[in-house]
Amino acid sequence: MRQLKPGREQRSQSFWAIAFARFRRNRLAMAGAVLMLVLYAVAIFAPQLAPYDPTVINLRNRMEPPSRQHPLGTDIYGRDVLSRMIYGSRISLSVGFVSVGISITIGTMVGAIAGYYGGLIDNVLMRMVDMVISIPVLFLIITVVSLISPSIYNIMLVIGLTSWPGVARLVRGQFLSLREQDFTEAARALGAGDNRIIFRHILPNAMGPIIVAATLGVAAAILVESTLSYLGLGVQPPTPSWGNMLYEGQAYIREAWWLSVFPGLAILVTVLSFNMLGDGLRDALDPRLRD
């Protein structure tokens, strides 16, 4: 029975190390991850990367097609489209990041409490979730934004506060099944309190699906922000965001296709990369696929 291998203590692969190894074999997911990192780098180093000031108007250069000076052309006020897109990535990514942060935090707390304690608490919380889910999110956001000012912070807040129910359901399901596992029962038999069981035993085992939900949630939030900006309810000009650039460009799509095509592509690529990343993470973290 003893397998003594003389020498130093054997350090072994944790769950996360194995998941990462599996993730690395998935090319699509790796591409998504790399793209995501590039996007974040662009957003962080926007002032260094952008060739022009994104808000400086130069009416002599209006609607110039892509050229050496302006790789992606200029818009109706002569502003550099590339620079505006680089700065716009800050909006998209921070909206994605912050609103998902809010929704994951609320969703995990609500789901954990409902799933762990069950009974009446579960019922009350889940009916609340049903209520929030039954509201058409876009209409709610439009209403809210038209009542309070449509600043980027309000948008983050509203997206975050409306997208948590999905996370709550997911986490609740995880807690319901993990709560009944033998290792949870073992912890209880050892005298572990609720906090210890929730944070040491159940939550670490539920992290996989939560991370996947977060990644996919970023993509969804970026889309919602773009939609709002496109409708004119999001980030207000002159601050550039991919959504409001798309909106401004659509009127001139015949004369200046570059005004709408490039922001549209940026949204597409970003959402796609987050979705690929999320799918890859799902595969890497799914315990059923453990080899």
Partner: protein, 334 residues
């Protein structure tokens, strides 16, 4: 159980009339439409240092009984007296402290270890919870425990998935041992293991019992396993004990027809020997609506009218051999 046995010294755990009814709900309003009587009035005691085997077929309530004793499942009624204290009356904090004294080893070594924790964390957790040891002292104790259960101390930083079923069960045993408990409830600890590994784990459990003067309640459905490890054996059928006796007494002189049938099902590894097999007919009745009278009567080949009417009492027929059967005397005569 009689007063006499209770007063005897050396009883570690006494269970009296333990009951666990699980409500069954139905209809659109989730009304309670019945109860699954998983454990329905079970009484027994365990002496210090002995192993009481609890045997019965699947679904008879063995596991529920074990979990009720640890209050992992809250019993519906009854008393569980551990070292003179009825633990069902303890509050949450008192119960938490008492858990040092009584531990459990689970059936499934794959489900009972947290896959996100290292072996060191798993075995060290009880020490942390009860503030016994931290840091270096904890690690030292964990390594000791690993050696005690026959694993290498170098395995502390490994994860459960890197071990075989037998090794994982050893980890589970080490975790149960960490706090030096007096009682360990072994809930089918070898049922999920290969036969070749079963004996290793059983021998380990026996060695540990001697070394640390442990008391076991050993739940199993495998009679060979039960015979190997137990001092006394209790036979359970549909939420009730039907017979309880010394190991030899039970195997040589079974009194209850159900025990008889169970024993006749043990294969004999000798093709020359022919033995009469008692084949039980029908299925185990539903524990929601158990048969009136003796619960075994629909499947009993000796059943008579009295068995259908009156529930037999669980009585001592001498030398701590308990049986719940109306026909015991007649059978002996016949």
């Amino acid at each position: 159980m009689t007063e006499k046995t209770e007063k005897q010294n050396g009883i570690l755990l006494q269970v009296r009339e333990l009951k666990k009814y699980f409500p069954v709900t139905g209809g659109i309003f989730s009304r309670v439409i019945g109860y699954v009587k998983a454990v329905d009035g079970v009484s027994f005691y365990i002496k210090r240092g002995e192993t009481l085997g609890l045997v019965g077929e699947s679904g008879c309530g063995k596991t529920t009984c074990g979990r009720c004793i640890l209050r992992l499942i809250e019993p519906t009624a009854g008393e569980v007296i551990f070292e003179g204290r009825n633990i069902l009356q303890l509050d949450k904090e008192e119960m938490r402290k008492l858990r040092r004294e009584m531990q459990i080893v689970f059936q499934d070594p794959y489900a009972s270890l947290n896959p996100r924790m290292t072996v060191g964390d798993i075995i060290g957790e009880p020490l942390e919870i009860h503030g016994v040891a931290r840091g270096a002292a904890k690690e030292k104790r964990v390594k000791e425990l690993l050696e005690v259960v026959g694993l290498s101390p170098q395995h502390v930083r490994r994860y459960p998935h890197e071990f075989s079923g037998g090794q994982r069960q050893r980890i589970g045993v080490a975790r149960a041992l960490a706090l030096n408990p007096k009682l360990i409830i072994c809930d089918e600890p070898v049922s999920a293991l290969d036969v070749s590994i079963q004996s290793q784990v059983l021998n380990l459990l026996q060695d540990l019992q001697e070394e640390f003067s442990l008391t076991y309640l050993f739940v199993a459905h495998d009679l060979a396993v039960i015979k190997h490890i137990s001092d006394r054996i209790a036979v359970m059928y549909l939420g009730k004990l039907v017979e309880l006796a010394d190991k030899e007494e039970l195997f040589d002189n079974p009194q209850h027809p159900y025990t008889e049938a169970l024993l006749s099902a043990i294969p004999i590894p000798n093709p020359e020997v022919r033995k009469e097999r008692i084949i039980l007919e029908g299925d185990v009745p539903s524990p929601i609506d158990p048969p009136k009278g003796c619960r075994f009567h629909p499947r009993c080949r000796y059943a008579q009218d009295v068995c259908k009417q009156l529930e037999p009492r669980f009585v001592d027929i001498g030398e701590e051999h308990y049986v719940a059967c109306h026909l015991r005397k007649q059978k002996q005569v016949a």
